[in-house]
Symmetry: D3
Subunit: 316 residues, 6 copies
């Protein structure tokens, strides 16, 4: 039974022998008696659900870690308007599962992959012979070890696009905005802008680890952030091409500056129109995603809460 079905169940219905991925587990002390309980987050590819184990929670911390697949018995409860599972027992399931089936995924992942393929084909045509050097850089990416990660990586730990395929989904949207703006605009260097858009967040592959299905900051993520890491990756793609050092620098500059202002973490502020464009396309997609996402389970004419707006968003 998928989590999206469990959410439809009634309070006190029984959950028996279901397998999920454990994406979060925390030990909490009772605040009015000795002892502790465990709060958890479980996932499969249909979504996430909170769970809680009131009794005998101590021992499970020795046997389970985040990223494990776990088999659970319990029953449904409701807390602050959301369904949760009161866990009776939980143990690691060593069965032979495909982990991808336990990770929340963006909608229409397959279609996004096809959409990205199409974009690549289009760029091949449009870059043509004149800008074949740029396409070679893109080819190096497609043939690199980073490409497969790119297709599945999340785009955030929280805030926006925090699911399997989130990086692909966000990058594709940003690239499409930039495409539609650049095509008609002679003041924009089309090839520079498109590669900047495609690579702007590529450093997130090194900023987060995701192998176990749980998104976590890496040590290089903490020390350098995804902009420095992305510049390093893209330098690699430029090797063995005929792209000039100066052209390469423009691509790297878009990555360095895509947060727009120093106080938002830009390494330098955008110094070329292509960098201004990628910055705003990135911002627009990230901001719209947040508020649309806050309303995804909300009826027309009602409100949904968004952390980012520190208030309620209304569904028109």
């Amino acid at each position: 039974m998928k989590i999206e079905q469990i959410i439809e169940k009634k309070v006190n219905e029984v959950i028996s022998d279901q397998v999920f991925m454990l994406t979060q587990i925390d030990k909490k002390s009772f605040n009015n008696k000795p002892g502790s309980f465990a709060t958890m987050e479980l996932s499969d590819d249909s979504g996430k659900i909170k769970a809680i184990k009131w009794e005998d929670s101590e021992e499970i911390f020795d046997s389970i870690v985040m990223g494990d697949l776990v088999r659970i018995n319990g029953k449904i409860n409701e807390y602050k308007g959301d369904k949760q599972i009161i866990v009776d027992d939980i143990k690691v399931d060593e069965g032979n599962y495909d982990k991808a089936e336990f990770i929340p995924k963006v909608q229409d992942h397959a279609e996004l992959i096809k959409g990205f393929d199409n974009l690549v084909d289009t760029l091949k045509d449009e870059f043509g012979e004149d800008r074949k050097d740029y396409f070679d850089v893109l080819s190096n990416f497609l043939n690199s070890k980073y490409y497969n990660d790119f297709l599945i990586w999340p785009a955030a730990i929280k805030f926006h696009h925090e699911k399997l395929g989130g990086l692909l989904m966000h990058t594709l949207k940003v690239a499409r905005h930039v495409y539609s703006y650049s095509k008609k605009e002679p003041g924009i260097n089309f090839a520079v802008a498109m590669l900047g858009a495609i690579f702007h967040d590529i450093g997130k592959i090194k900023e987060y680890s995701f192998e176990t299905g749980v998104t976590k900051m890496t040590q290089v993520g903490v020390l350098f952030g995804h902009k420095v890491l992305g510049m390093e990756i893209v330098k690699g793609f430029c090797e063995d091409t005929f792209l000039s050092k100066e052209e390469e620098n423009l691509l790297l500059h878009i990555i360095a500056s895509h947060h727009g202002k120093k106080e938002y973490g830009a390494i330098t502020e955008p110094k070329i129109p292509e960098a201004v464009l990628v910055h705003h396309a990135d911002l627009m997609d990230a901001e719209c995603y947040k508020v649309i996402d806050a309303l995804k389970n909300v009826e027309e004419g009602e409100y949904g809460y968004s952390d980012k707006y520190k208030g309620y968003i209304y569904k028109a």
Copy 2:
């Protein structure tokens, strides 16, 4: 002879009996002897040029005002790298001219008008019967006195889109971004977003006067700004339609909030996804315009200055 040709002339070449619009005139005192001189800005539909009258400038202030068409004799000079005209004599020309030929205009104005017509046709189809109420609001706009002004109004006094047709050009670009984003996104109410985009800056028609070809703040512009004025105008378009009061309020809210944050002048911050979208589409177009414009006369591999970035922008 058009200004774009005059700019190509050499220093000391003679300008004789040319007619321009006077868009700016200031009296300046010499700072090392008594007396004063006049600095001017002249325009026609090909561009603008600075001019200066060193002698006998006192009397011209009585006979000429901004917006007049003037006949000029003088010669070419260069100042800080830009050509200017040293004026020998200047007088108002009462000839029977079409003022529109003297006002700098966005490129491809006719095509922009056609582009807007096409957008309206597309919306008529796509809104269909279901959202005919929204199209009626749009029709009321097209049939109103504001429509003709909308086609020619500038979108700014300075900073961005400050030419004849600037409001149309900016609005069309914003509307196209919003269209391409909304079409694919079920989380956006398409009709609300499109009308919000089309009307977001409509209040500029009351915020600036432009009748004489010179853009100036009006008194209501100073006292209220274009957001309040735009809300008032769009209320008028909603009269005599079947749009509900609540639907009307959503359109007005997009206008009220399109600057995004209070410190940037938003009356309220966006509370619906459609308002977040219009805000970011507006911001992206305005910012990209500024830097692209700063490079419009700059060669590849060189820098152009942008006030907004308080520094130089590089042409990739």
Copy 3:
């Protein structure tokens, strides 16, 4: 028994069959066992008190809503230094009560009404024939449906003047400051300043609903805020008077700009001295109210807590 008397009772004293207005009710889950309890706020015209129902709280959420008059049995407890009621049972009381007796009210409400009447009489004299147009606008207000609401509306949901009569009390204080400043100051247009002061917060009547005794944001409050709504109301008062459009605009500008700076929500920043004056009189009254209110139950030489100052205020 009034709430101000209940607060004087000892822990464990019994409350039997008392009627209050329910102004707030929230469902809270226990954080160490399944199930939930209810926290409430109760009011009458002498004040407010917290209440809590530990058992069988589930069912009451179906039968009671905010704004209901409820009959309560329970006993007194103390929590974080404040008295509260532990509720044994609670039910809606359909008796024939005057709701006004259950809403906390500013002190000396009757006197404030008289004070406002006196102010109006004074202005009638002082405006005289010369500025009769301005007095006509004031008359239209007094004869409108808004006048009765004005006398009882709160001036805030929280923060300042959040009681029945709060809007009147705050407006009267602001108007008196402006009166005393304007009378002696030739640089201020007296009639413009006084009407600006009286109308500056009038839009709160549409920004909050208060009919049920519970203050809540309305949808137009969320979408537009009280400045836009107040401008709309005052436009109505100007109809059918001889006030010129320009004079009307000055009144509306004071409303639009009374928060002083964009980052505090001003639609435009004050552009006339009268608007600067109303802004500062408003600010002074609101800020002083907050700290004086924080000390209202505090002895001389002791501290009271104020959220606004994020710290303690000392009573001199």
Copy 4:
């Protein structure tokens, strides 16, 4: 002939043998030939006027300093819309003048002094026997060397109340606001608030020097500012009274905190309601003064420029 009459004269009219105070003199180099000229500001009790000496300016810097009374011959010119004097010759006049006749002064200075006397009398009555300790502090001020300076000192170098009597005028207005608010408000300690208001800017007597008629920062003004200096002065007034140390501290705290927020220079932020009140009364008077002053020579329906608003203020 007073400066207010000179301003009415026409360009090229002759000024002969007039005496003014020299309040500012700067040596400026020509920017297109060797040599220098002198720009000056002259004053008498009717106002100020700019002056310029084009020729032989070198020698005057040796013989004249700011604060001197100078005898001038020259003629009228107009520069950027303001009248100025083109000086032919200037020399120090050692005549036996009363310097007070050469310093710009607030309007109705004598009446302000009387107003302050009346306020003191009122406070004597209202403080009565109960708060005689507070009145003794005020008496110590009236009998101190600071009192005479207080009556004539300016309240600022620029920005607000920058004339002879400016400190008195500003203090009296602030004290009146505080009086009218405190009288009706039981939450305010009346005596503490009134003395706080009267003394809040007293430190300016040590922050600026003014003996020569030219306002300048003193070294202790630069190193400590008027809040620290004012606290020191008021400590002196508290000596030999029965005011308790704690009561004295409340007065000093009002001075320390009257700028309201750290970023505006408050030593500590207001911790008592009396300090919040004095802060806002101070702010209101200073801000209103600025915009009213910007319009003092402006016709109704026109604009005046205010530095503070970085834009034009409209006269209603």
Copy 5:
């Protein structure tokens, strides 16, 4: 048994008849049943530990206050990774203890005192006869009642150097930085800089009370802050010396400005290089202390949490 040993004990081990200082006690209500419990903080000179009393806590609030020495029976528990004591019974111990043995103290307190003595000796030599006036000021400090407090006072309530001897430790470090910088730098007045460094935080002796071993803000601390209080103290040290008023003012200015910017609480911003130097030496020591302290119980290659950085600090 010292607290540093208790922390090494296992959960459920018994604590019997141990004496600590009670530095914090708070009454907390259960949030899911009537009644309350007590949370405490206990200290001795080896450190601090949290404690909790679940039952019969009401009565202890009458008999115990912060600063008391208490005798405790209970057992060890662990909460959020830190050891705490579950208290069975607690009572005041009137025994004849030296309070200093119960207050957490900086490491190597005796050595810090010796270090300060050495610094004084060094300054005596280096100031020599030329700057004997400055050394006299320092002598007045050493002979004053403030000197003993200076040796033991904490430098903060929380955030940095919040232990017995913290003020000495912080002052000595700042003085050493300033010493090493000033010695080599002809642009710095050595004596002014050194006395400024030694006295910059001296006002904390009046800002906090510490007599009972519990650090608390005093009323003058709340009303004026340690900069004003320190200026007052140092004025006293300058009495009966030959230091000129101007030299004294430089010392006082360093105290007034040592927070560097108004928004960080500087009374005036630094106007002499010596004040800039003391500000940055102070900032550097305070900031480094915070992050080093956050890692003091952390292994190499692991993270420790720092409030100040709102995140984790990594131990290299």
Copy 6:
């Protein structure tokens, strides 16, 4: 004749056949007649001086560029209190000069080089065998092409340490602060902190060009800034050593974060104590340099102007 001697000359004294480096040249238009003049800055190793050529300036722009050595005839003038040269004629001097004699240099450059050598020797000893890997990185630097540049590079274009040897001088001071702090502080990893200090600004060698004696931003300087460029350089020094990847990352992180906060340009904010320390040592040296430099030609008891403090600094 050196510039420091020329500055002592009187107005109108003749300068004949002197050679300087031209470090700045700008074409300025007269603002009250047609034509233009040239303003210049000239340097030798004793300082800088402004120069101006009033006549026949047009032609020199074709023959001279910044960085050229020029032979000058003219005479002395004074402008705004500073001496300048009125140039009669100027031409490029192709003589065989050592350019280093024409570039302003920090005081005691030779001693700074020796100081750095000593520091390296000390570190060799103190790192010893245990941390030989770190010393190998330092050796790679000393043997690299960057070392010679490091000894002469400026540390800024303007603001601080903007002379030949400025980078060395600033780096040495920062390293000494870090050394003295780290030696005594067990919470700091000494080797990491020292190498971080030495390398923190090394990227300036790529951020500015200085070959011609004129400091200018490079294109990579504009696009990436010195932090990214420094990380790249230091990666090179780590090659062919036994430093672990993680240890290398700590060095790179110090460079990435040494501006302390995002709004000051830090790529990431400091996450290790060593980075906090280097940041504050850097800040302290840069800020003190600015104010000390502003007073370098000022007498005790007088003021010098500092751009950074937007006001006057007093010399104690």
